[in-house]
Each structure stands twice: as structure tokens, then as C-alpha cells.
């Protein structure tokens, strides 16, 4: 593999992994608070259309990023009202949210189909970005790539090193006790759900602003579901989520790379590799006795009704 081919592969892995990481980070926080939101795909696709529309009309991809996050969070609002305040079933509501997001984004995006988009620029730091090979890889990405890594570190720190994180985990692990201690379970979950929506929106915005700067219906093509699976894969640890997202991206891209070499490995096998690797890793993780169960937020998916 020569250097330019290697660089192309590595750069592509970064762009393939970033939207997954962004969306999965949000879902991780929501699930840590005990809320299972299966609407990630819907919130992502809303982020994609909103990001694209705002970037196109204002000419600023950065406003597009903000709009993507806001749109994702807005779509999370009905989910919050239904599951947190009205105690509806989280699984059913989440699935409905995905349907709503896909339909609504198609409707909103109708007049944006076929319009060339605004691309989120890659950073260029004079000197650093020009270093051969390492420069473009480490110092020449767009802001969302750095943001995704920074947010992963921040989420990890908040969840495990701060009081806020302790409350979040308490709510997710034993909402009755957290309630008895005087914390508002519903309010904490609301915050987590909105954060999850905003992050999914960002992940979608990355698709329509940086990955493939255009709007087409259903352009998330199932990435929201991958993000959901990655959260389980990570056993609710942000550090492992980064590894998972990049592993998934890397195996996908390497599959393409091997095909391009024309060495005759069956394409179907290569296409299924990311899923096989993810499942294999899940099996390895969960066989470490009791670990996976211990990591799962104990109240995940359970509605909470304050009794007094």
C-alpha cells in the first residue's frame, strides 16, 4: 500500500466513523439516564435536512451545524413528552419517532433535493496541516471531527468524574432511590433525551454538510441503527464507543479497499465484515462474566412515575 492510498483510506475511515460516534454519544447519555430512544435514525435524518437547509439558505455551514443539533433536539421533544411525562412505552415511541423523522424530513427537504450543498471546510493550520501524511490526518479535519472526539472525552469525564454524572447514573440505575434522595428523575431524563437528540442531529448534520454535502431523502441509510448498536457494543463507556465507531468505520472502508485491489475476496463477505466484527467483539465483551450486565443501566427502558 503506497502512502497516498493509505492516507486516503485513513481519511475515509475518519469521515465514515464520525457521524456514528456523534449520534451514539448522545444515545449513550440518554441510556445512562435510563431512557432507550430508538428514534436515533429519525433525529439524525432531521438533523441532516435542517443542517443542509440552513447552510444553503444562509451560506454558513456553521449555522447549519447549530440548526442540525437544534432540529435533533426538537424532534426529541415529543419523545420526551410521551415517554417521560405521559409514561408511554419507550420502544414503541422511539420507533414512531424514526418514522416521523424520515417522513417529516422528506417533506421539509422536498425543495432541497438536487441542490448542490455547502461543504463544511476542512481546517488548515499553516505549517501543521502541511506536514506530509500526518498533517492532513491530524490537523486537517473539519471541526465536527474534533468536536466528536472532544465530546467523547467530555462525556466520559462528566459521566464518571462529576457530580452531575453521578446523578445521571443514579437515575439510570435506580430511579426510585434517586427520587428518594430528592433528585428529579424526570428532569434529569429530559436533559439526557434532549442531549441525545442534539447529538443525533449533529451526526445527521455531518452527513449533509461534510460527508456527502447534499440532501437526499433517507440519506442516513440506517446509520442511526448502527449508532444504537454501538452503544450496547461500548457497554455504555464513551471510551469504548470511540473504539467501536472507528472499528466499524475502519472495517467498512478496509472492505472497500480490499475489493479495489481485486484480489478476489467475495464482496458479500467483505460487506458483512463490519457487522461480524461488531458481533464478535460483543460476544467477547459479554462473556467476561457478569460484566455486560453490570454495565447496563439497571432502569434502562423502564418508565418512572413519581409516587409522591
Amino acid at each position: 500500500m503506497d502512502q497516498s492510498a493509505l492516507l486516503a483510506v485513513l481519511l475515509t475511515i475518519v469521515t465514515a466513523s464520525t457521524p456514528l460516534l456523534l449520534a451514539a454519544l448522545g444515545e449513550l447519555v440518554a441510556e445512562r439516564s435510563g431512557v432507550l430512544n430508538l428514534g436515533v435514525e429519525g433525529m439524525m435524518v432531521m438533523g441532516a435536512v435542517a443542517g443542509f437547509a440552513v447552510a444553503l439558505t444562509t451560506g454558513s455551514p456553521y449555522l447549519g451545524i447549530v440548526a442540525a443539533a437544534v432540529a435533533g433536539a426538537l424532534l426529541a421533544v415529543p419523545f420526551g413528552v410521551l415517554t417521560l411525562n405521559l409514561v408511554a412505552n419507550q420502544v414503541a415511541t422511539g420507533l414512531a419517532l424514526t418514522l416521523l423523522g424520515l417522513g417529516l424530513s422528506g417533506l421539509i427537504g422536498e425543495r432541497f433535493v438536487g441542490q448542490p450543498g455547502v461543504r463544511l471546510a476542512k481546517l488548515h493550520i499553516p505549517g501543521l496541516s502541511d506536514i506530509p501524511f500526518v498533517g492532513p490526518l491530524l490537523f486537517g479535519q473539519d471541526v465536527l471531527v474534533y468536536l466528536s472526539i472532544a465530546l467523547a472525552i467530555a462525556v466520559s469525564w462528566v459521566v464518571f468524574r462529576t457530580r452531575v454524572g453521578l446523578i445521571l447514573r443514579a437515575v439510570g440505575d435506580n430511579h426510585a432511590s434517586a427520587h428518594a434522595l430528592g433528585y428529579s428523575v424526570i428532569r434529569v431524563r429530559w436533559a439526557a433525551v434532549l442531549f441525545g437528540g442534539a447529538m443525533a442531529g449533529l451526526g445527521g448534520g455531518y452527513l449533509s454538510l461534510a460527508y456527502t454535502p447534499q440532501w437526499i431523502e433517507n440519506m442516513t441509510a440506517g446509520r442511526g441503527w448502527i449508532a444504537l448498536a454501538l452503544v450496547v457494543f461500548s457497554s455504555w463507556l464513551p471510551s469504548r464507543l470511540v473504539i467501536g465507531a472507528y472499528l466499524f468505520g475502519a472495517v467498512t472502508i478496509l472492505g472497500f479497499f480490499v475489493q479495489g485491489l481485486g484480489v478476489g475476496v467475495p464482496a458479500q463477505l467483505l460487506s458483512s465484515l463490519p457487522y461480524i466484527v461488531t458481533i464478535a467483539a460483543l460476544v467477547v465483551i459479554s462473556t467476561r462474566r457478569g460484566r455486560a450486565r453490570a454495565d447496563t443501566p439497571a432502569c434502562l427502558g423502564q418508565p418512572f412515575v413519581p409516587d409522591r
Partner: protein, 364 residues
């Protein structure tokens, strides 16, 4: 174009979800029955009308019917219909709603269409890209491979690195014959040309198509082509300053500096003709396979290449239209070394082998 049903689980899930939503929407939006004396015609699409590719082009055909025959026909469509049992429901619903002519536009709608056709003998059905017919089921497709021969020739002339990148969806005969026609075209002007092939196993995943494009460029490809539905690959080509081709629709405005030409599916002539036939009673359950000659496959004006290349491509296109050049005419050497001659339509429609010079192994 055919849509294959062997999708990954997430694709299936996503499309199933999208499909059921579309069904729900269309059911609620279906207006009151039109005036009784008008013919009701309906279209079933596998993707969103807004894909700016395959389904979009079919819908352009439907709109052309409205424009030409709007006083005699009312049209409806259902988009995002997943292939399989759901398709049967969607088609049957359209038949029950009083549609007398129903176009099902994807390969995977073949069996559902035939099943519904049995229950509604007085409704005429038209299935795209399939091979099963009945007394009230006609089939139609387009010779996309003719266009691919022309763009292969252009690519063979234009590549400097000698390597062309080709992004593909599923190993079905239509896609395989496209690859072969492209390669034969390229070899006709550049015997040592190499074609690198990446299967993304999806008709429509802009992200994956872009990923594959980037990997191909990294591996030395300096011209891209694709048999997938989105504009993503062409956009990557534009961004990297190389050339490429559009697919299904004219994608010029996405990549004005990169698109040389495109293989546009123009169904309007066919649809208008068939609706007319249904109106005047001459409709028959036949198989139609139109190509460049009938303007079913159209190449938009060639640009971004030197004049001599343009002239060569136009000459080739004219020869194909005139019938003097057949992409699969003459002697063809297969990848395994055996030689075949003057392939007939049956052989092209069931093609499951590569021509010599392609160093990919065909997934079986």
C-alpha cells in the same frame, strides 16, 4: 435497473420503516376517486421520488404522461415501497382503488405484481426489468448497457493513470452487463486499461458510495463511474478534481466540472405510448426493451473532454443508434478465456460472467 432483495438487516429495517410510513401517508393522502371516464394509472417506486436517480426518473415519466394525456388520465404513485410482501399490499391497494394500469418499477416487484395480476384480470400491469409475463402483465426495460459502452470508450480515452474506478450495487445481470459493456468500450480504445470494482451492496447509501469513491481514487483511479443511485460518487470526483459520469438522471448541476455525461433513463416515450395503447384498446402484454435508438437511454451533451474525444463518443453513440455497432456483437473473450459471439438478448439478460481484463472476481 433492478432492486435486489438480499439487503443487510439494517437496510431492510430502514426501508421497511420508511415503506410503511409511505404507505400510511399515501393511504391517507389518496384523494377522492377521479372522474369515472378517465383512465386511472398508478406507479409503484422502490425508492423516494426525491432520490434524484432511478425512482426520480420514473416519476418524470409519469409527469410526462400527465402533461401529454392529462385530460384522459389521472395518475397516482406510491414511493418507498419495499420489495416483498409489502409490495403486494401496495399494488393490491392500487388495484382496489380502481387503477386500471399499474406500473411496478423495480425488479423485486416481479412476483408480487404477478400475484396481484391474477386477482385482478381486468387491470393491466407493467413490470420493469423483470422476465415473467401474464395475459395482463407486460414487462419493460431499457438497454442501459448501450450507454455504458459509450462512456467506457470515453473513460478509456481520458484516463491518464490507466485505472478507472467502478462502484456497483448488486451482482445482477443488468449490472454485470453494464460492467462488461463499459470494459469493452474502454478496451476498444485502450487495450491495457484497468477497471477497479467495488461492490457497496446497496442501491442507495450516499455515504458508502462516497467512501468507495475515495478509496478508488486513493488506489489510483482517475475516472469514476457507478451503478448506484445517488450523486455521491460524482461529487467526490468533483471535489478531487477528476472526471466521472452520472447515473439514471443528469447530475450535471451537482458536479458541473466533473460530469462528462450521464446515462439517463427516459421512460416518458414508453409510458405515454403504453397509456395511449391502454386508452385505445391496443394494449398487449408484451416485452419491450428499448435502447438509445428509441431514446429510452439518453446521454446528455458530452463536456469536460477534448473535442476529438467528444466526436469519437458521438460517433459511437450514433452507430449504436443506427444499429451498426452492437456492444455485445462480434467475438468476446470471457474472463476464463472462452470465446462467445454475437450475444442475443437472452444471453445479455442472464449475463453472469466478466469479459477478459477485469481483475475482479464476480460475486456469485
Amino acid at each position: 435497473m433492478k432492486k435486489w432483495s438480499a439487503l443487510t438487516r439494517r437496510d431492510a429495517l430502514a426501508s421497511a420503516l420508511a415503506g410503511s410510513l409511505a404507505l400510511a401517508l399515501s393511504a391517507s393522502l389518496a384523494g377522492p376517486a377521479a372522474a369515472a371516464d378517465k383512465l386511472k394509472a398508478a406507479w409503484v417506486y422502490v425508492g423516494p421520488v426525491g432520490d434524484f436517480g432511478y425512482s426520480y426518473q420514473h416519476d418524470q415519466g409519469r409527469l410526462a404522461v400527465e402533461k401529454a394525456l392529462g385530460d384522459k388520465v389521472t395518475t397516482t404513485f406510491v414511493e418507498n415501497v419495499p420489495e416483498g410482501p409489502d409490495a403486494e399490499r401496495a399494488i393490491e391497494r392500487l388495484a382496489r382503488d380502481g387503477n386500471k394500469l399499474i406500473f411496478t418499477t423495480s425488479f423485486g416487484f416481479m412476483d408480487p405484481t404477478l400475484k396481484v395480476a391474477k386477482k385482478f384480470p381486468d387491470v393491466k400491469f407493467e413490470h420493469a426489468t423483470g422476465y415473467k409475463r401474464a395475459d395482463n402483465v407486460a414487462t419493460f426495460s431499457a438497454r442501459f448497457y448501450e450507454g455504458r459502452y459509450v462512456i467506457g470508450q470515453i473513460a478509456g480515452k481520458m484516463t491518464k493513470s490507466g485505472t478507472i474506478g467502478y462502484i456497483v450495487s448488486f451482482p445482477i445481470p443488468e449490472v454485470v452487463s453494464g460492467i462488461n459493456a463499459f470494459m469493452l468500450g474502454a478496451q476498444s480504445v485502450n487495450p491495457n486499461v484497468k477497471v477497479k470494482i467495488i461492490w457497496v451492496n446497496s442501491w442507495y447509501d450516499p455515504g458508502k458510495e462516497a467512501d468507495a469513491a475515495k478509496v478508488l481514487i486513493g488506489q489510483g483511479a482517475d475516472i469514476l463511474t457507478q451503478h448506484t443511485d445517488s450523486t455521491a460518487a460524482l461529487q467526490v470526483a468533483s471535489e478531487k478534481g477528476i472526471l466521472g459520469f452520472g447515473q439514471s438522471s443528469d447530475m450535471d448541476k451537482f458536479a458541473p466540472k466533473a460530469q462528462i455525461t450521464s446515462i439517463v433513463d427516459d421512460w416518458s416515450h414508453y409510458y405515454i405510448g403504453r397509456v395511449k395503447a391502454a386508452l385505445d384498446g391496443s394494449w398487449k402484454a408484451v416485452d419491450t426493451w428499448d435502447g438509445m435508438k428509441e431514446d429510452a437511454v439518453v446521454l446528455p451533451p458530452i463536456k469536460n473532454v477534448p473535442d476529438d474525444v467528444k466526436a469519437m463518443a458521438e460517433k459511437t453513440a450514433a452507430a449504436i443508434k443506427a444499429g451498426t455497432l452492437k456492444p455485445f456483437g462480434g467475438k468476446i473473450t470471457k474472463q476464463d478465456g472462452s470465446v462467445v459471439e454475437n450475444l442475443d438478448d437472452g444471453a445479455i439478460l442472464s449475463m453472469n460472467w466478466y469479459v477478459k481484463g477485469i481483475d475482479d472476481k464476480l460475486p456469485q
